[in-house]
Symmetry: C2
Subunit: 343 residues, 2 copies
DNA sequence: TTTATTTACGCAAACGATTCCGTATTTGCA
DNA sequence: TGCAAATACGGAATCGTTTGCGTAAATAAA
C-alpha cells in the first residue's frame, strides 16, 4: 500500500554507475568528475530522488528529531511552548515528536522510554506533577541522551534548564496587591513536589514578610493536579471562603487554577475584586475580556520553548561532551487589569 | 556523544549464537527450541536490549509515526485536536510529529515534503488558509500516502475526512439570534477559499432566508488570515460599525475572530449585546467568565482528532487499497451565554 | 538398516545510504 | 620513454534487523 521511493540504486542503474559513485556525486565529492556529477544530479532531479532519512539515521545514528514530553498539549502555556520549540526545530531541520504525560508519573516513564527507543536525538521535558522519583530521566541522561528541562525542573538532574523567575513573578504580584490595600492575601498553588510551586510560594512568602504582613498557613492551599480536576479547585476555594478571617485577595499559580477559581467565584455569585481580589498565572491572551479584566502573570512561553530548543540542539550537535550547564531564567510579566484593584 | 545501544549482535556474541537465531528467538519463532529461546530472552533482559526502531523501519518500510500539519499549535481548537490525535496514537504505539503551516501555503508544502521524506506512515492535514492549489497533497496521495483531512477539507482529494456540521452550527446560531429579536445580523468569516467558511456562511444565509430576513452582502466581511492578524479584524469591524444600517448582531466563524471582535468592541467602549450581540466559534472553556458570558459554537475538537487518527490508522494498516472513503460529520454545540440575548 | 522427515540452527541477502579500500586509466615530470 | 602521482570510479563492508534458503543432526517411518 506504500509507494516505491526512488533510491540511489535506481539512479546508478539508469546511468550505468555504481551506487558509491552516485552517492559521492550527490554529496559533491572531489573524487567525482564534473560531468558525472552533472549527469547524476540531472538524473536525480528527473527521477525525483529523495534521500531516505531512515537509512541515513541508521548509518549516522541520529534521527534529526527531538521528543517533547509535557503534561498537557491543550493548555495555552504548553501549546505556546510547543510553538516555540517547533519554530526553532523547523529552522534547523528537526522534527518535533510530542507526547503528553497527563500529569501521570507512569505515563511519563512510558513516554520517555518510547521516545528514547525511537531514537530521538534529544528530549525537552517538563516534569509531571506526580514525578518525585527521577531515576528514569537520570538513566537516560547518564547514557548520554541530551536533555533540557523546561518550566518544571529538578535540581537532581544536571543539564540545561529553562524557567521563568517564578519567585519574582509572585513577589511582584503579591506586592502589587499589598500596595493596593489588600492585607489578607491567600494563595492557591499546585503540587508541593513541583519546583515551580515552591519558587512561587517563596515569592509570596517573602513579599508578605518584606511588607510586615504575617504568613498564615491556612491561607495557602494546594491542588495536587494543579486545576486539571475542577473539584480540587472548588474544595480549595471552599476552605478559603469559610475561614473566620476570609482572605481579601488571592494568588493562583497556574492557568487552570486561575480560571478554576474565577469560575468558582462566579458560580457562587461572588464578585472580583469586591469579595476577593485575584491575580493569577495565565498565558491566555483574552484576559482583558474577563469580567473584570484580570490582572495576571504571563510567562514568555514561546521564548522558553525557543530557548530550550536552542540549548538542546547545542547539546545534540556538540562534538565534545558538555559538562557545564546553563539555567536560563526568563522574566514573567505582570499585566494589570482590574481584578487586583480595590473597588 | 551518543550512548551505544545493545544490539542483537551483542546477544548473539554473548551466547555464541547467530543473529538470525537470536532474532527468531526474540520473535518467538517455531524454529527455535524452547531452551534457546529462554536463554536469549534472559540475555536480552540482562543486557537491557531494545530493538532499534530505525533498523526496523528500514526493513519494514514503515516508521510507526504519523505527521500532523495544522496552521497553528497555540490555538485552542487545534491543540485540542492534537490532544485527541495523541491519545489514540499513544494507544496504538504511534508517534505524533507536528508541524505548523502558520497559514502559509509555501510552508505547508515544505512541511508536507519534509514529513513525507521522513517517511511518516500517514498524514492528518488541515489546510492552510492560503492553499488553493492542492497538487502537493494530491501527489502524495497518488503515490499511496494515507491521508486524512480534518476541519479544513477539500473535495478534490478523495480520502477520509473529519469535519463538524458547520452549516448546522451557524444555521442554529443565526436562528437563535433571530428568535431573540435580532434582525440585522452580520457575519465576520475567514478566507473564502476555506471549505469551512463557505459551509458556515451557507448556514447563515439559509437561516436568514428561512426566516424571511434579507441577505445583505455588506453584512458579510472576510478576514483572509482568520484573525491571526488583529488589524484585519479591526478593519472588518470598522466596516460593519460604519454602515448606515449598523448590524445589531454578529456571528464570527473562528476562535481568533471571536476574541478579536470582542476586543475591538471593548476597546471602543461598545457594549455586547446592547450595541451588538455576538455569537462566535470558540473552543475555549472560559467563555462563561467573559463580560458578558459569551454564546458560542463549540466544536468537538478532541473527538475530531481521535476520529481522524482512527481513520488514518485504518488506512495505514489496511492490507488492501481502500477506495471507499468516509466523511465523518460531528455535531457542534451551541452554548448559550448572554451575549446573544437582548438586554 | 535405509530412507524420509522433522528439528534447530547458520549463512547471506536485503532495506538505502555512506565510506574505506583498491585499482585502472590518465596525466605530469624527469 | 619510464615511473610516480593524480584522477575517477567500483567493490564491499557497515548500520541493526528480518527472512529465505540450505543443512547437519536427530527422529520417525519403511
Amino acid at each position: 500500500m506504500k509507494f516505491e521511493a526512488v533510491t540511489i540504486k535506481d539512479i546508478a542503474k539508469a546511468l550505468g554507475l555504481s551506487t558509491s559513485t552516485v552517492s559521492r556525486a550527490l554529496r559533491d565529492s572531489y573524487e567525482i568528475s564534473a560531468e558525472t556529477k552533472q549527469l547524476v544530479l540531472e538524473c536525480a532531479e528527473k527521477l525525483n530522488y529523495k534521500p531516505n532519512p531512515i537509512a541515513l539515521s541508521l548509518k549516522e545514528k541520529r534521527s534529526r528529531s527531538i521528543g517533547v514530553v509535557i503534561c498537557e498539549i491543550a493548555n495555552n502555556f504548553f501549546s505556546q511552548i510547543i510553538n516555540g520549540i517547533e519554530s526553532i526545530a523547523y529552522d534547523k531541520g528537526y522534527n518535533v515528536i510530542v507526547a503528553q504525560s497527563r500529569e501521570s508519573y507512569e505515563r511519563e516513564v512510558i513516554d520517555l522510554q518510547f521516545l528514547a527507543s525511537r531514537s530521538v536525538d534529544g528530549l525537552i521535558i517538563s516534569l509531571s506533577t506526580e514525578t518525585t522519583d527521577l531515576t528514569h530521566i537520570k538513566a537516560l541522561h547518564d547514557r548520554g541522551m541530551p536533555i533540557v528541562l523546561i518550566d518544571r525542573i529538578n535540581d537532581e538532574i544536571d543539564t540545561h534548564k529553562v524557567i521563568v523567575d517564578n519567585y519574582k513573578g509572585v513577589y511582584d504580584a503579591t506586592e502589587h496587591l499589598i500596595k493596593n490595600g489588600f492585607k489578607r492575601i491567600a494563595a492557591i498553588a499546585g503540587s508541593e513536589f513541583l519546583s515551580i510551586t515552591n519558587e512561587r510560594l517563596a515569592g509570596y512568602h517573602d513579599a508578605l514578610k518584606a511588607n510586615n504582613l504575617s504568613f498564615s498557613k491556612e491561607y495557602v492551599q494546594h491542588c495536587f493536579y494543579g486545576g486539571m480536576i475542577f473539584s480540587e479547585v472548588e474544595e480549595a476555594m471552599n476552605k478559603l471562603l469559610t475561614l473566620k478571617q476570609r482572605p481579601d485577595a488571592l494568588i493562583t499559580t497556574s492557568d487552570k487554577l486561575t480560571t478554576g477559581c474565577l469560575k468558582t467565584m462566579k458560580r457562587r455569585g461572588l464578585h472580583v475584586p469586591k469579595d476577593m481580589a485575584i491575580i493569577g498565572f495565565s498565558n491566555s491572551d483574552i484576559m482583558e475580556l474577563f469580567d473584570p479584566p484580570l490582572t495576571y502573570i504571563r510567562q514568555p512561553a514561546e521564548e522558553m520553548g525557543r530557548d530550550a530548543t536552542e540549548l538542546l540542539l547545542q547539546l545534540i550537535e556538540s562534538k565534545r561532551p558538555i559538562t557545564e550547564f546553563e539555567k536560563r531564567v526568563l522574566s514573567p510579566q505582570l499585566i494589570i487589569g482590574s481584578s487586583s484593584i480595590k473597588h
